[in-house]
Symmetry: C2
Subunit: 373 residues, 2 copies
Amino acid sequence: MLAQGFRVLQREGHSRARVGELSTAHGVVQTPAFMPVGSQATVKGLSSDDLTGLGFEMVLCNAYHLYLRPGHQLIAELGGLHRFMGWSRSILTDSGGYQVFSLAPLCKVSDDGVTFQSHLDGSLHHLTPERVIEIQESLGADVAMTLDECLRYPAAEDAAEAALLRTTQWARRSRDARRRPDQLLFGIVQGAHYPGLRARAAAALVEIGFDGYALGGLSVGEDKEVMYVALDAAVAELPESAPRYLMGVGTPEDLIEGVAHGMDLFDCVMPTRHGRTGWLFTSFGRVLIKNAQYARDESPVDPTCSCPVCRSYSRAYLRHLFLAKEMLGVRLNTLHNLHFFATLMTGLRDAVRQGRLAEFRDQFYANREACQT
Amino acid sequence: MLAQGFRVLQREGHSRARVGELSTAHGVVQTPAFMPVGSQATVKGLSSDDLTGLGFEMVLCNAYHLYLRPGHQLIAELGGLHRFMGWSRSILTDSGGYQVFSLAPLCKVSDDGVTFQSHLDGSLHHLTPERVIEIQESLGADVAMTLDECLRYPAAEDAAEAALLRTTQWARRSRDARRRPDQLLFGIVQGAHYPGLRARAAAALVEIGFDGYALGGLSVGEDKEVMYVALDAAVAELPESAPRYLMGVGTPEDLIEGVAHGMDLFDCVMPTRHGRTGWLFTSFGRVLIKNAQYARDESPVDPTCSCPVCRSYSRAYLRHLFLAKEMLGVRLNTLHNLHFFATLMTGLRDAVRQGRLAEFRDQFYANREACQT
């Protein structure tokens, strides 16, 4: 087994950006990294071979979804999540906090934990921080997340403070509950968009001590500027030596800014979900493939893209598949979008290594401006 | 360009079975062959690379669907169907007769042709035999089919006779309308389940002269025995030197029997459609993947199968994907089923070459009996 943990390999002088390596029980993840979302033990439409082919080294799965269906015990009996989904690289599991608070039709929080109704069959469940660790250990995630209390945006400061105090208590109980030495555990910094609360939350988590620190509850509707002030306040309290994970973020622009602000890990449903609605990411901005302008367009989605979709298929064909509601369209769109995100992260890592993140960012926006569609 | 046409390479002494090669403008198709159905210029869920990987040398697309959406002219402008769908091997297009009579909400036949409403938007269309050839030539199919009149089962003998007379007239007009020398044209033998009508229809088509002969309107509800009597009556009138295509057939059992009865080409939605409903083909019979018995089953769908799905995934995982309505489940099921059909055809060709088709058939049924699920 590899020595697990995080190592910063290089820092950029002009920003907070850094490149590093997150070593898990299943290999090395080069950071900054984007994790495709495979909530139900599959990144929608793609196989594990597809993801390996795209170059991803870690995927995110969801403890909430897998706990409800097919059940973490069943996955444990079958040898764990990696074997179940045929993925031999790293897996991070989200604790389920966000899903409990956003998907469950009923949800009641107490200091002990959270009681909620399944969105699948209405059955009643109670999850505690300890139980959530047990679930993620059963799944065999390489990185587990602590249970956190998530608030809807905008949250009042006193509500945000109460939630972060509870989240901090839960984080301590989570750390005390962990049993698997081969699993990394990340704490989640809450505190809404209040810089003071974010700083307090981060400091409290660092005192408890985790293998990494995540920022939850950002990019939920607040202005970008507000988000980065809150984020910076948290980062100031976090050790340089630990990985930082900006949860549920984001757009290509968010990834660039996030890296510049010192973030190491990201996840977002955007490339996969947008793929399903025919929204394609390109170097020159979005392509909405259903648009009539592409009906007779022989060119690939992005002429500068080297993905298998752009090498073989035209915009006209992808538009036809989309309008005919053909499953292949969703698959090809998803492959293209995830390739775009993977390539963006490779570009960002190179730029940070070469100390030219600002130029990379300028070039990124210049490409958009030049060919606005 | 290759010399186009059909060549019988070897006959089996104990049956009517033969192996051959159908050479088209896009390559050689080893027969007997099964064609996956890609009605709308895509075999649902799979890319052209997937189909090549599975070993298929020809796919079936549908002139009716492509005429309505995205339009054959658009596909012609974009360089033809091969280029449009990124498939460099052979394509057979069905004429659309079957779809007009089964999908269109309104449909009126005259000697001139057929007037029908689009199932997509209710728009009114008129297709003649000549127009259907023009559409398939625009698409650039390697093998085109003549327009035929299809009856619902059971058809009365006088109705079947009238339909076959019209189909024969349409076949002559189709042959006279063809312009592309790089496209093979097959006539379609109708005549319902009446051996006398089938023989007359076949003889009439041979007199007109086609590159191949298809049997349409079989396996539509009649007993298998009845079907093979009608089929044999037609085959007796067909030249040994021309390829014979049993349209819309069928089950693995149908393919074995069809080969024994001298058929060279088959197509059917079964492997793809059943894949979408979780019905998996195996050497020991069907596996309905949703069944509770597979919830904790670590074994592959078929332990004797060498497909990419059986090499990487368990029944338990496929069941999970099916119950979670995950698109990857449909894709993996489809890949497995089409691999089963491709492998069956390879086995059948080998068996015919080695003169042991009867043993192959016996073994096929013995495997089923031995492990009935």
